[in-house]
């Protein structure tokens, strides 16, 4: 019989059980009593889907116990790190039909549940010398230990089962190929450009791939070779679940292997599909990239193989240079093209830009717009359609690149752009070649001469140098007053 632990209760009858900080009755270890191995597998499957066993792996101890009545059950004991861990274990155990206990050495009492939030305490201890005494509200039973179980062995004995919706996760994969298929597969992977390395396994009887099977390690399985690797007889594709364990494509292991760190470093466990046992392979020490395993081919040189230059005109493969949006990081604005009213905005902007920008920015006015070559060190003028330099004397709209990626000199030569001309590719597909001499400094181009006038100055003669007026008398003729008359 059990009684519920009351709040603030400190004295308990079960040895090795106390009350933790939250008042919950807890021992040093936890124990899950499972009806059989299948329940143990179910418990582990559920538990590992939620939480990794890393925390309790070092202390977990599955054991086969036998009651005094001869019933065999599985007791899975582990360190009770905290009541949180115990709560999760109890939840999973309840789901799988198991019971959860807490205790320290031999006596384990039922762990808390909804009816007893602080746990249970036994009214009376069992008078037995059994190795395990369990106290439950429905029973109190003593168990003897029959044998211990190994989790690794358990995991290896479990067969992979078909997966409802097989998929390729972004992870490494292992390919096991029969010896005859190894070399062709090596060449195929090398030709397909798949990053893979290969090793030759020693002959083992467990392998269904004959003697000297090939083991390939792929960093990922490209879509183009998935059909080859999954449908070719003699080739098995295993997707790595965790380091040292992989499950064949289309199947899954009952346990979440990634949460079961039970695999050894220097071995590889492959879980094949179907009801086949796991393959435990020693990890080969040498893996060679498949590209190094491909046989080199020496081209034969014969008189017929040497290409002869034809005297006839070579057929020309004309390819138009096009602009494509570029995904590369943005480049420096090297030029811009102003159209319509943007030139007037440039006039306004010129009042605020730095003298360096005014001096280094160069401008050319054409019938296709006003072109600006931005200053290399000064601030860029953010007006108009912006261009980046795609090569010497070549400018493309910002965010575009030229395809095919020809050398600048070759492109200028093929387009017959004269020397000293700058080639602008526009976003609308047209292009312009502007003489470099047409570009003048922006400061010079903006300068509008103000009207000026020279004020008229009066020349003031020096007083001392003033000439004296001198009277000169001329002859007056016979009739001096011939025109001098009185006014009416």
């Amino acid at each position: 019989m059990l009684q519920k632990v009351a709040i603030h209760q400190t004295r308990l009858r079960i040895p090795g059980v106390g009350v933790d900080a939250r008042g919950v009755c807890m021992g040093a270890r936890g124990l899950v009593l499972l009806p059989g191995l299948d329940r143990l597998v179910a418990f582990l499957a559920i538990y590992t889907r939620e939480v990794a066993l890393t925390q309790v792996l070092a202390s977990i101890k599955p054991e086969l116990v036998r009651s005094s009545l001869g019933a065999r059950e599985v007791a899975l004991s582990f360190d009770a790190i905290s009541s949180d861990v115990m709560d999760r274990v109890a939840e999973v155990a309840r789901l799988t039909g198991a019971f959860t206990f807490t205790g320290t050495s031999r006596h384990f009492v039922q762990y808390r549940d909804a009816q007893a939030p602080f746990g249970y305490d036994a009214v009376e201890l069992l008078k037995s010398n059994a190795e395990l005494c369990l106290y439950h509200d429905s029973f109190s039973q003593a168990y003897d230990l029959e044998r211990s179980l190994d989790l690794r062995e358990l995991a290896l004995r479990l067969s992979a089962r078909p997966k409802a919706a097989p998929s390729f996760d972004a992870g490494a994969a292992w390919v096991l190929a029969a010896s005859a298929l190894g070399p062709p597969l090596v060449r195929h992977l090398a030709d397909a450009g798949v990053v893979a390395s290969a090793a030759l396994l020693a002959s083992t009887s467990e392998l269904a791939f004959g003697t000297d099977a090939w083991l390939f390690r792929l960093d990922s399985v490209p879509r183009r070779i998935r059909g080859l690797l999954t449908r070719t007889p003699g080739i098995g594709l295993f997707l790595e679940e965790t380091a040292g364990a992989a499950v064949e494509y289309g199947s899954e292991h009952p346990l979440a292997l990634a949460a079961c760190p039970v695999f050894r470093p220097r071995e590889l466990v492959l879980f094949p599909a179907g009801n086949r046992p796991a393959l435990v392979l020693p990890m080969p020490s040498v893996f060679a990239p498949v590209s190094t395993l491909v046989e080199p081919r020496v081209a034969g040189l014969g008189p017929d193989l040497v290409a002869r230059l034809s005297e006839a005109r070579l057929p020309r493969v004309a390819t138009r240079v096009r602009l494509l949006p570029s995904l590369s990081s943005s480049r420096r604005v090297a030029a811009s093209r102003l159209r319509d009213g943007e030139a007037e905005q440039l006039r306004k902007l010129s009042y605020v830009v730095s003298p360096q920008t005014l001096g280094e920015t160069r401008i050319a006015a054409t019938d296709q717009g006003v072109f600006l070559l931005q200053a290399e060190r000064g601030q860029a003028i953010p007006l108009g359609a912006l261009y980046a330099e795609a090569g010497h004397r070549i400018y493309v709209p910002l965010g575009y690149e030229l395809v095919p990626r020809l050398a600048a000199d070759l492109l200028l030569e093929s387009m017959q752009v004269p020397d000293g001309h700058l080639l602008f590719f526009h976003a609308d597909g047209t292009s312009s070649a502007i003489p470099e001499v047409a570009f003048a400094p922006l400061a010079q181009a903006l300068l509008e001469p103000s009207a000026w006038s020279e004020p008229t100055s009066h020349e003031f003669r020096e007083v001392l140098s003033a000439e004296l007026p001198t009277l000169w008398l001329d002859t007056l003729g016979l009739l001096p007053l011939k025109r001098a008359g009185e006014a009416p």
Binding site: P469, L471, L473
Partner: protein
Amino acid sequence: MKLAGLAQSLTERLLLPLMRGGQVRLVEPVGEARAVELSRALAGTRLFDDVEELRLEAARRWSPVDDLGEVAAEEWLLVAALNDLLQLTNPALARGLGRGGTRKKLARLVARVIERAGPPSTVRAALSRHALFCRVVELARVDTEVSWWTGSDKFVGHPPPERLLAWPNLRQVRRREERVRLAEMPPARAVEFDALLERWLFTTPLTTLGTSQKSGVPFRWTGSMLGLTHAPAGRRLALRVLVSSADVAGALKELARAAEPLARVDAQAFAHAQAFIAEAEELRRGFLQG
């Protein structure tokens, strides 16, 4: 001679050399009729930029003015009158037909023109006239007397011919030049000249005031002078002209002497003249102390 040509000749041969300095070559006598016609035609026009420029330059010596307006019709009358007045000193005037009658007739015409011009009606007009004619008392005539071994001759207002100066040593040529002031220019027969010169000078009172020591014409407190010095602006202008004259002390003595007759006929005018002289004297002392 058409009016335009007459105006240009008067300007280029008389007015500009008089203002700027140089050789003044008179125009043939203008007479009253043409002078009146000329003054009416040129009134309100600014045909001669040089005249405007020189007039303004001269006026700025006494007043900070920027524009004196166009040369008035009365000023053109005075220019014509000055030309004819100076022609009275021309010996050639007596060589033509009519002789003494010609001079008298010309003197009468000059008097009528001067009377038409009259005294200045505004301070600006007084300043403008002074600016035009302030150098008239500087006008001089060069008379050359040439003697040689068989005779001698006097050339008034023009140089002797070269032939008279040839072989100076052989012919014992002697040449003597004399600068003759304005008041001393008329020949002995031209008795009308002094009175006309005085009348002409009284039409520009500032010139009379500023040149009383040099003109040879005794200063008189005329109505135009008293009227000008009554107006505050005119008084300031007259003081400036007086103080800027060459011999201020002598000018003040001349003014004081001229004021004495006023004491008998017009006590108020006399007091006004005395006050003006006192103010000018005080101003002169201020200048001297400063």
